[in-house]
């Protein structure tokens, strides 16, 4: 339709081109009359026409009028055919897409009241099913029955939970068919999870046919009044089909197990009644299109009921006595095993601690292998024997221990001392001590032992230093005393040796040479002081000189044989240090002499001990 307003132009009579004269006046009168006539004839229609034009040309008026008609028009057209739906569908779909793309929230808000419960219901069903399966499986995991079922599950290729559910099943609605009563055509169908179903279209037909057959048999035979609706069909010992009939639809419920009859009145009948009520029109006009009956799904699903043994009250579930006993035995065995293992380990630890406390025993590795303890390490031959300790000091069976000890000298203080004793074999009277690696020897010992001890002591593991300061070399000491006991006598007032004293000097020289030879191996340095003496006769100055000369005389006699002078000191004591108290003539003779004082010095201390050389 064009937007330009319609116009109706009154018919204008043709006006001939005439000269203005009397005839024209007449014509004018005639026109007025014609106009008047027209007005009289068409004015009402003219007014109506103008009104119509006004309505058509005014968009606001047209919109208002169309709004009054639109909903009625849509209803009318939709009842006639699908063309309106088809025409609107693309626009609606596009608008929907566009709206969701722009802002999905309004749509989400709009459908949330629908989606929320549906999702909750689905989750709840899934959880219930899972918990139930788990619960059943758990209950039957520890019984002989459970064992049998496990074998059955293995041989049948089913899960254990499935087999448990099948055996503990009191009843379960496996499938629900909504069937068009007249034709037996399946309108809708639901099945419990994990149920294997045949083609539900065919099954619906067969169920109807079977029901029809039963009804006919009943009708044909004696039972015409009762059982008008054959309402149950037993397919096998534990599989039945229950029928609930409404005027135009039949609910066929496939039940496994023994379901209580009350399910009919509580669930099945209300479901089919609700469907019959809600979908009466679709059922009445049914011509093969089952699409509208998708709406019946919630009702059908409400019939998928099941019940298992013990499902009603899980608290009543009791563990069988033998299971308890077995569990108790198992616990006791575990406890005993734990205790014995703990005790064994403790004993072993004690043994290890005992070994660790032993000098000369070093544990390299230990542990348990193939059910036996093992220990490897090093031990000093002088250390306590680990095998003996194991046998005598622990309750451990030696057969349960694999030992591997390597012999090795130990530097442990206690063992070092023992080793020193063992090696050096100190003679009686000699005591060995070890302190922080310093081995000390005290007492008197033969020269040879002293020399050997000095030589070997530091080779003993654990001995760093050998201290022999308090060790006395008996042979050396005896020589010293022998020399010191002797004097060389002189002729009165001279430095001439008395008769027979040359032999004395000779013997002394031999002894001194022996001393000098023996001292170094014993760790000693020899220092000899030669002291000259006089008797008390004469003046003291003369005696001093005389005593000096006598000491010098002996020094020269001894050293003439090749003995080093370095070890000698000479001193004149005049009459002040008499060899003997002068009470007789014989005493005077002895005081006209030279005596010896010998020092056996420890070389390290000799610097302090030695008197300064003159």
């Amino acid at each position: 339709m064009s937007d330009s307003p319609l116009r109706i132009v009154p018919n204008q009579p043709d006006e001939p081109d005439q000269p203005e004269d009397a005839a024209s006046t007449e014509a004018a009168v005639s026109r007025d009359e014609m106009a008047e006539l027209r007005r009289l004839l068409v004015e009402p229609e003219q007014v109506q026409l103008n009104n119509i034009l006004e309505r058509l040309n005014n968009p606001r008026v047209r919109t208002r009028e169309m709004s009054r008609l639109l909903s009625e028009a849509v209803k009318l057209r939709a009842s006639q055919d699908d063309s309106l739906t088809e025409a609107l569908a693309p626009t609606i779909v596009t608008s929907f897409h566009s709206s969701v793309k722009k802002d999905p929230r309004p749509v989400a808000e709009a459908i949330s009241p629908l989606m929320g419960p549906a999702i909750r219901r689905a989750i709840s069903a899934a959880l219930n099913s899972m918990v139930q399966t788990f619960d059943q499986a758990l209950k039957h995991s520890f019984s002989w029955q459970g064992l049998k079922w496990r074998i059955e599950a293995l041989s049948a290729g089913q899960s254990f939970a499935e087999v448990v559910m099948l055996h503990t099943l009191l009843y379960r609605v496996e499938q629900v068919f909504l069937i068009h009563k007249q034709s037996g055509v399946k309108l809708n169908h639901v099945a419990a999870p994990s149920i294997k179903t045949q083609d539900s279209d065919i099954v619906s037909g067969m169920l109807t046919a079977i029901q029809e057959a039963i009804r006919s048999f009943s009708f044909d035979s004696f039972d015409q009044t009762q059982n008008e609706h054959s309402d149950m069909l037993r397919l096998s010992d534990d599989l039945e089909v229950w029928f609930e009939t409404a005027p135009q639809a039949v609910l066929a419920v496939v039940v496994r197990g023994k379901a209580p009859e009350s399910l009919r009145s509580e669930f099945f009948a209300p479901a089919i009644e609700a469907i019959q009520y809600e979908q009466r029109e679709a059922l009445e006009s049914f011509d093969g299109d089952t699409t509208p009956f998708e709406l019946s799904r919630p009702h059908l699903e409400s019939c998928l009921l099941s019940k298992y043994e013990g499902q009603t009250d899980p608290s009543k579930f009791k563990i069988p006595l033998y299971v308890k006993l077995l569990a108790a035995l198992l616990l006791a065995a575990i406890a005993a095993w734990a205790f014995f293992t703990w005790r064994e380990n403790r004993r072993w630890e004690n043994y290890l601690n005992t070994l660790r406390a032993q000098p000369g025993v070093i544990i390299a590795d230990q542990g348990k292998r193939d059910g036996k303890f093992f220990i490897t390490g090093f031990r000093d031959p002088l250390a306590a024997d680990p095998a003996t300790i194991l046998k005598e000091q622990t309750p451990i069976n030696p057969n349960d221990v694999v030992s591997n000890w390597q012999l090795q000298k130990s530097s442990h203080p206690q063992l070092a001392l023992a080793n020193a004793r063992s090696l050096l074999e100190p003679p009686p009277g000699v005591e060995l001590k070890l302190d922080q690696g310093k081995l000390s020897a005290e007492g008197e010992a033969p020269h040879q032992w002293v020399a050997d001890a000095r030589k070997w002591a530091r080779a003993i593991p654990g001995v760093i230093e050998f201290d022999d300061a308090k060790l006395i070399d008996k042979d050396l000491d005896e020589l010293r005393r022998q020399v010191e006991r002797q004097v060389v006598r002189f002729v009165v007032s001279t430095d001439q040796l008395a008769a027979g004293q040359n032999q004395v000097v000779s013997a002394l020289t031999d002894q001194i040479q022996q001393l000098i030879a023996l001292a170094p191996p014993a760790g000693r340095a020899v220092r000899i002081e030669i002291v000259g003496h006089t008797d008390t006769e004469g003046d003291e100055n003369t005696n001093q000189r005389l005593s000096d000369e006598r000491a010098a005389r002996i020094l020269s006699m001894i050293t003439v044989s090749g003995v080093s002078k370095d070890i000698f000191f000479i001193r004149g004591a005049a009459s002040k240090e008499p060899v003997r108290p002068e009470t007789s003539r014989s005493d005077k003779e002895y005081n006209r002499s030279v005596s010896f004082k010998i020092s056996l010095l420890n070389p390290s201390k000799s610097a302090q001990q030695l008197p300064k050389k003159n």
Partner: protein
């Protein structure tokens, strides 16, 4: 737009041993053993075919054959959208049974679309139903198709034609 789900019930009617079950077996894959048909007197199968772009599930009720001892139960035709009337080309009496069955359907159920099948086309030399008889049937407005369950001749055509008649009526 979601496509409609169309389910149409059709029946196979005919005298005993005309080969109805074999015809169905040619057409569909059944899930039942044959013991059902002897017990209940009907065997239900399904075949999906496409007419004008619309998928149609034909629920095929293969009703036990009519003979002297057993009459076809017309109850089974309740709610059917059409039927296949089957005769055995080698047995003239089966044509009579077919006519009689058709009359009973009209009488007890009402006029329904149907196709008349003369089966055992593979045994043409042994046929007792001649062309004249066929022509008479066609003269009554029957759609006649010669079929062979053995070779498959005409079987698909028969089911499809019936589905078309039902869907386009």
């Amino acid at each position: 737009m979601t496509q409609k789900q169309i389910q149409k019930k059709i029946c196979l009617l005919g005298a005993f041993a005309v080969g109805k079950t074999s015809l169905v077996a040619r057409f569909v894959k059944s899930i039942y053993s044959d013991q059902y048909i002897t017990t209940v007197g009907v065997k239900v199968d399904k075949k999906t075919i496409n007419i004008d772009g619309q998928e149609i599930n034909l629920i095929v009720w293969d009703v036990a054959g009519e003979d002297d001892l057993q009459k076809v139960r017309m109850n089974y035709l309740s709610g059917a959208s059409g039927y296949l009337l089957v005769a055995d080309g080698t047995r003239r009496d089966t044509l009579e049974t077919a006519r009689m069955l058709r009359d009973r359907v009209n009488e007890e159920v009402g006029a329904l679309p149907f196709i008349f099948l003369i089966n055992k086309a593979d045994l043409a030399s042994e046929w007792e139903i001649d062309d004249q008889a066929v022509a008479e049937c066609e003269a009554h407005g029957w759609t006649v198709i010669k079929t062979s369950a053995k070779t498959g001749e005409g079987v698909e055509e028969a089911f499809t034609k019936l589905a078309e008649k039902i869907y386009r009526k």
